[in-house]
């Protein structure tokens, strides 16, 4: 992946009547990267991708592809291609004809088309006999591969995906996620992938852009989004999380309800005098601190509570703890480290400063 920008958008707006689907979106997609755009339904991600490929026109704003303005170029003249959620495979054509379709439109001669289609079947690890198969004879996973082969036959500058894996069962989806990541590495193309599943985005992409109500909330590599979210929304969207409101008084004293916070530690949270924020810690970074022995790194921040329930997540165990002001706290641990308490037991939760993160602002 290079640092060169392939796609750039600036000040993009899309309105449908009174409803503003996209609010002044800015984004730079790097050449050869795998970018996932993630958001809940209705966040505007599908609207955005439709503007990218030209199926809708922006109300305002500009899109450049390699420095050339494309927002005014019709869809059939743009060098981009999309894999649809429905896959949009042509039911009246064979697998081979589907893959060849973009080449046929481009006027490539039949022998060359066929050869390229067979190469793409090889690339997608589909048997060459599939060339003559009908679409309805293919399984769900095979159809995904055919749709991918067809998009690659178009040889787009950027390949867009509109949640193509969402209709598949869990195991097949996991397999195809790996294949897609592998395909990205082998082709070196720029992939922009839209999904509502963060897990899917984490598994495949180099960078993740989190969308909310028509705006980007955060654009960063997966690790950073997970451990250093910029907002409560991102923190909560990225899975289970414990959040504590914290506030620095005008004289610099840090107040955090229920948290036992040493002034020396509090000073390192990075809050300015008069500033409010949210202290975030992931369940796997919280430990059950036993009353007498404190093994491992000494917790720097602790909170008391009562054990409510234990859940078995397979490889891990999850504990639900009720905090001092009745808030629900979550702790996760490997199953070897079972806590073994009974519901109602008083417990102390603790973690070190380097495992938590402060989200600034209310």
């Amino acid at each position: 992946m290079s640092e060169k920008t392939i796609l750039q958008i600036a000040g993009l707006y899309k309105r449908f009547g009174d409803f503003t689907a996209l609010h002044s979106i800015d984004l730079k997609v790097r050449e050869g990267e795998f970018l996932a755009i993630v958001g809940p339904s209705g966040s505007g991600k599908t609207t955005l991708i439709r503007l990218f490929v030209g199926m809708d026109e922006p109300t305002d704003g500009t899109i450049w592809l390699r420095g050339q303005r494309i927002d005014t170029v019709p869809a059939n003249k743009r060098p981009t291609c999309m894999v649809f959620q429905s896959l949009a495979l042509f039911p009246h054509m064979t697998v081979g004809r589907n893959i060849e379709f973009p080449l046929k439109v481009a006027g490539v001669d039949p022998a060359q088309r066929r050869e390229r289609a067979l190469e793409l079947l090889d690339l997608l690890r589909l048997p060459r006999e599939y060339y003559a198969k009908r679409i309805h004879q293919c399984s769900g996973g095979e159809r995904q591969r055919v749709a991918l082969a067809r998009a690659l036959a178009f040889d787009p500058e950027i390949l867009f995906f509109d949640e193509p894996l969402s209709a598949l069962d869990f195991r097949l989806r996991k397999t195809l996620e790996k294949e897609l990541k592998d395909l990205h590495a082998r082709t070196g193309k720029t992939f922009v992938y839209i999904t509502h599943s963060l897990e899917e985005a984490m598994a495949m992409s180099d960078r993740i852009a989190i969308m909310r109500a028509g705006r980007f909330e955060q654009i960063a590599p997966a690790d950073e989004i997970y451990s250093r979210p910029v907002s409560r929304f991102v923190a909560e969207f990225m899975g289970e999380v414990n959040l504590f409101p914290v506030r620095a008084d005008d004289d610099g004293v840090i107040r955090a309800d229920g948290l036992a916070l040493d002034p020396a530690v509090a000073a390192r949270l990075g809050l300015h005098a008069g500033e409010a924020g949210t202290l975030m810690v992931r369940p796997e970074n919280v430990a059950m601190v036993n009353r007498s022995d404190a093994g491992g790194a000494a917790p720097e921040i602790t909170i008391g509570g009562h054990l409510r329930a234990e859940y078995n997540l397979g490889s891990r165990l999850q504990y639900e703890v009720e905090g001092p002001s009745g808030q629900r706290l979550t702790v996760e641990t490997l199953r070897e480290n079972r806590f073994g308490g009974a519901p109602g037991d008083a417990v102390t939760l603790g973690w070190t400063l380097d495992r938590c993160h402060v989200i600034h602002g209310d």
Binding site: V53, G54, M55, P74, A75, N76, K77, T80, C81, M82, F84, Q85, S86, A88, F90, P91, H92, F101, P102, V105, A106, A132, R150, F154
Partner: protein, 268 residues
């Protein structure tokens, strides 16, 4: 629950009776066409196939067939084209007056055909158009093209709009999308609409009666001869007309299988 033997026998009998009720009258016409007697009476005492020879040789019958064929053929072709685009407007695209269009387009089907025929005749007179088989084509279209539209629209409803978007995304112009995606996918609907259009026009009597002027189609002639000048030539021509429809239907039913076999042979 498995039906009992008795109720199964009852259902079978009911089915046979229904089919008998539908097809026996046609059989009666068949018998009448091979009677030697000039007037229709049962039981038939002497059989004769001479009327078929006469029908084949008759110039009148040839002209009738020709006019009916011309009318039905034109109605078929025009209904298929109008119905195709009508169905796209009916089922495929969202536009402002779609709801109104959907209601108005279907209305002519429910008009009594005699009234529709009379209304059209009055219009042709008012416009100074002399009625002939040409005007009958127009009259048939008023009634048949909505039916064709409806048949194709049913197919268009099951059409995934992202197929057209995908084709455009891969570089297709509007015309290429129509040729490569929309027409092939709607073709089964267009063909059955064409079949319906032909058969409805071929057998139509009330609209033709009012609008053919001096020309005459097969059903009109059959009726006229029943009223005055009956001979076994009437049921004979009737049977020939039914046979023509049946052959057309049989070909249409067999066509997909034949095409598939032919394609398979061509591929090998």
């Amino acid at each position: 629950m498995e039906p009992s033997r008795l109720s199964r026998a009852g259902l079978l009998l009911y089915g046979i009776l229904t089919l008998g009720f539908l097809y026996l009258p046609l059989v009666a016409v068949g018998f009448a066409s091979v009677s030697k007697a000039r007037y229709l009476s049962f039981p038939i005492r002497r059989y004769d196939t001479g009327w078929y020879a006469e029908a084949m040789a008759s110039d009148t019958v040839r002209d009738l067939l020709l006019i009916s064929l011309k009318v039905a053929g034109l109605v078929t072709v025009i209904s298929m084209i109008v119905g195709f685009f009508g169905a796209l407007a009916f089922a495929r695209y969202q536009w402002r007056f779609r709801g109104l269009f959907q209601k108005l387009i279907l209305l002519p089907i429910f008009f009594p055909q005699t009234v529709l025929g009379l209304a059209l005749l009055m219009w042709f007179n008012a416009l100074g158009v002399v009625p002939s088989w040409h005007t009958a084509v127009v009259a048939h279209l008023v009634w048949i093209s909505p039916i064709a539209t409806l048949i194709i629209a049913i197919r268009a409803y099951s059409f995934d709009p992202t197929l057209e978007e995908a084709a455009r995304d891969m570089g297709c112009s509007t015309l290429q999308i129509l040729r490569e995606i929309t027409i092939p996918l709607l073709m089964p609907g267009v063909i059955s609409a064409g079949l319906f259009a032909f058969l409805l026009s071929w057998g139509n009597f009330p609209l033709s009666l009012f609008t053919t002027g001096a020309d005459s189609t097969l059903p009109e002639w059959l009726y006229a001869k029943m009223v005055a000048g009956y001979s076994p030539l009437v049921p004979t021509v009737g049977v020939l007309s039914v046979v023509a429809s049946a052959v057309l239907l049989a070909v249409a039913l067999l066509a997909p299988t034949l095409v598939r076999l032919w394609r398979r042979n061509a591929a090998d």
